[in-house]
């Protein structure tokens, strides 16, 4: 993780960096959050083992560039370029980790699977109770029901909240990210994904980032 990660900055220093994205603090915060969400999903979809950290690093590069030179005409295009470069840079490392993964993987016995499911369910309840009430209600409602029945429920939920489906999906994603971090802390990294290889450095940004 970069030493300049936002999680390690003072609030004032972070605010100064945000101001480079937009003079209006709220709009800058929204832009930062959306970019971070897009980056973390992008790195996840492109196979990075630690997408949140890479999203932090990518935004660091953007902010450093903005500090050096205000003339970044298209922030999104710049970020996309840096992110793609980081994917290429990380390819060799991921190949190495994939080798380790193959070595670490062992068949899961049914009893272990059942225990893991129970532990996961217990931890999920703990994690849900740690969310703000409106967040836990939203995520529970979003995943309530079975099969195609959930689709009209979700549309109805978006209507009730007065937001488009895309905005609802983003909110759900942010809550899910926090649940994922909480589950990892609760279960331990080896339990959430049994064959997962933990990184050498603990991902501190996961626990400090706001939804």
């Amino acid at each position: 993780m970069s030493v300049n990660s936002p999680s390690l900055l003072t609030e004032a220093a972070f605010d100064r960096r945000l101001a480079r994205l937009d003079p209006d603090r709220d709009r800058a915060g929204e832009k930062y959050e959306l970019l971070h969400t897009k980056l973390s999903k992008f790195f996840e979809w492109r196979g990075s083992p630690w997408p949140e950290e890479q999203a932090d690093q990518c935004l660091d590069r953007l902010i450093r560039r903005l500090e050096r030179d205000d003339r970044v005409d298209n922030v999104e295009a710049f970020v996309a370029g840096v992110a793609r470069l980081m994917v290429l840079e990380g390819w060799r490392e991921r190949e190495r980790e994939r080798g380790l993964l193959a070595l670490a993987t062992s068949p899961v016995q049914p009893a272990e699977e059942s225990n893991a499911r129970e532990a996961s369910d217990r931890c999920l309840e703990t994690c849900l109770s740690g969310l703000a009430p409106d967040e836990s209600e939203l995520i529970i409602e979003y995943y309530r029901g079975e099969g195609p029945d959930r689709i009209p429920r979700r549309r109805e939920l978006a209507t009730r909240l007065g937001v488009p489906m895309g905005v609802l999906r983003l909110r759900v994603h942010r809550i899910r990210s926090r649940i994922e971090g909480c589950l990892r802390r609760c279960l331990g990294p080896a339990r959430l994904v049994q064959s997962e290889v933990a990184p050498a450095e603990a991902p501190s940004a996961y626990s400090s980032r706001k939804g």
């Binding site: 959306l34 970019l35 897009k38 999903k41 996840e44 979809w45 492109r46 196979g47 990075s48 083992p49 630690w50 999104e76 295009a77 970020v79 996309a80 992110a83 793609r84 980790e97 994939r98 993964l101 499911r117 996961s120 369910d121 999920l124 009430p133 409106d134 209600e137 939203l138 995520i139 529970i140 409602e141 979003y142 995943y143 309530r144 029901g145 079975e146 099969g147 029945d149 009209p152 429920r153 109805e156 939920l157 209507t159 009730r160 909240l161 007065g162 489906m165 895309g166 999906r169 983003l170 994603h173 899910r176 649940i179 994922e180 589950l183 959430l192 994904v193 064959s195 997962e196 290889v197």
Partner: protein
């Protein structure tokens, strides 16, 4: 990994699906990467495609070929598997309530026809109160404790608490009644369960005309103490002005469930609550 070259462009939803399953050529991949950052709508399409793929896989709706791609490509990445496990856990939890209907729409968000339907539904509920009395008697037959108790309400922040003593169903002279003020998100019900031996409880909330509203398959006591009240947290958005019957069931050693208590209360009014900011 199989890559697809096409003369005809894919729809965005199919493109998103192919992207997630690792089926795009390098040139298509680069275009998709760029669009994720420049096109918010497309980013949302990919989020949706990911959600659908994971849920379709978990509920066995993926065709064999896509299922194989999903296992070989999507689940090959630790971070995607973490996300997948979160979906699996949430779906497993959500599926416990599968038999329940969708949440009642927030009246403030309804269109005029929606309001008309709601009025009709409320009229139907009012008209069925006589039938509800019969339902309460039927429910009461299985109860081990007779009605006697009190109700107390208090409100803290976005939570309204209603304390119900066992057996407010049968013969109750005063129906516990509450108003959900604006901003209420949770109705917290504190129940005094009868002293019965059980391995666990289940609570089911229905309208007085028997329509399921919500349930909790594993309600817990407020404290580890075996005599502490059971606390339920009902999302206020599910409640409208109506009469409700809450049934508490206990599981025996063999797993059989039995109704052990019933509680009756009335929501007399709801303000514009539950709308998220």
């Amino acid at each position: 990994m199989e890559e697809r070259d096409r003369a005809v462009p894919l729809s965005d939803s199919l493109l998103a699906r192919c992207y997630l399953l690792g089926e795009l050529s390098q040139s298509d991949l680069a275009r998709v990467d760029e669009r994720l950052f420049s096109d918010d709508r497309f980013f949302s399409d990919v989020l949706q495609a990911e959600e659908e793929l994971m849920e379709d896989y978990l509920e066995s709706r993926l065709p064999d070929e896509e299922r194989a791609h999903f296992e070989r490509h999507f689940l090959a990445s630790p971070s995607r598997r973490r996300s997948f496990e979160v979906t699996r856990a949430l779906l497993r939890r959500g599926g416990r309530y599968a038999a329940l209907p969708a949440a009642a729409p927030d009246a403030a968000a309804l269109t005029t026809p929606g309001r008309a339907r709601l009025r009709i539904r409320r009229w139907a509920i009012a008209a069925s109160l006589a039938a509800a009395a019969a339902l309460i008697v039927v429910l009461g037959k299985g109860l081990r404790e007779r009605p006697s108790g009190s109700v107390q309400g208090d409100s803290l922040g976005d939570t309204v608490t209603l304390a119900l003593s066992a057996g407010l169903v049968r013969g109750a002279q005063v129906v516990p009644e509450l108003v959900l003020p604006a901003g209420t998100r949770v109705l917290r019900l504190r129940l005094d369960p009868p002293a019965v031996e059980s391995t666990g409880y289940q609570a089911v909330l229905r309208t007085a005309d028997g329509e399921p509203v919500w349930d909790d398959r594993d309600p817990r006591r407020e404290q580890a103490d075996g005599a502490a009240p059971i606390v339920l947290r009902v999302p206020a958005v599910l409640l409208e002005a109506a009469d409700y019957v809450l049934t508490l069931q206990a599981s025996g050693a063999g797993g059989a469930r039995e109704d052990i208590a019933g509680y009756f209360f009335r929501v007399s009014a709801v303000s514009d609550r539950g709308r998220k900011r």
